[in-house]
Assembly symmetry: C2
Homo-oligomer: 153 residues x 2
């Protein structure tokens, strides 16, 4: 199977269908609407935000928030989506269809900037090795004040 990175929507959809089929799950209009919405808006969604947007774009499906949660978890379990934790305020999800990257978050306005740095990946491997961990994943988030918010102050 092709890597998930930089897939076109059709390829992504095919990947999704393959995953569904191989787990004896069904391809439904709601599941597609959720995937499509995630694809069309490369933002970081809370389940609630995504639910509202899907409802707005595909009102005839009458998608429930329960289905959004279930689908997001399904996507995450199958590595088609990734989530970031925000303590009490839940999680934010994004599709995994772009190269690996990390996040820098503005504490004022909440904007999320993505970045990528190969040196960090190397460092992480070294650290894991030192403690005899088998690395499966990582999370790196920088917090700060973005350019726009610095000027407002």
């Amino acid at each position: 199977m092709k890597s998930i990175e930089s897939l076109s929507y059709d390829e992504l959809l095919l990947t999704f269908k393959t995953i569904l089929r191989s787990n004896n799950l069904k391809f439904t209009a709601q599941r597609e609407a959720i995937l499509r919405t995630l694809y069309d808006h490369p933002d970081h969604f809370t389940p609630e935000n995504l639910y509202l947007l899907v409802k707005q774009k595909y009102p005839e499906l009458n998608t429930g928030i329960t289905t959004v949660y279930r689908t997001l978890n399904l996507l995450e379990e199958n590595k088609l989506a990734t989530s970031l934790s925000f303590g009490t305020q839940g999680k934010k999800f994004e599709l995994s269809n772009k190269p690996h990257h990390d996040h820098m978050i503005c504490e004022e306005c909440g904007v999320i900037v993505e970045f990528e740095d190969p040196n960090i990946e190397d460092l992480q491997q070294k650290i894991a090795k030192k403690h005899n961990f088998k690395l499966t994943d990582h999370l790196m988030q920088l917090y700060g004040i973005c350019e726009a918010c610095q000027q407002k102050q």
Copy 2:
């Protein structure tokens, strides 16, 4: 004021009292019990865990979980404690009285290993500069399988 890193308990207590005084807040037995418990157990606590431990060690205070939440937030706002997010499962807290470090978490047993790497701090500064962010904080967590759990498999 002395840096918070590597304070003895007496120094930590003094810092706490100073913060309380300067905010017109009161020094209470419950607040001290919570600080003391965090100090005596350099673990990563959920509010619930900490609540149970404080109750066990200082039963006569009859501390409520509400107070634990309120005190943890107070400590965090004043940089005496730090929290890590775990999505749905809430947060874990630790005292900030040791040098900066990051965390590596075992996905099997949940054990948290602390590590420290100056190279990472440098890299982060570079990345922030590139995007014109003013860095205030960061979070780096590595996920994997610890040595013990690898052997169990």
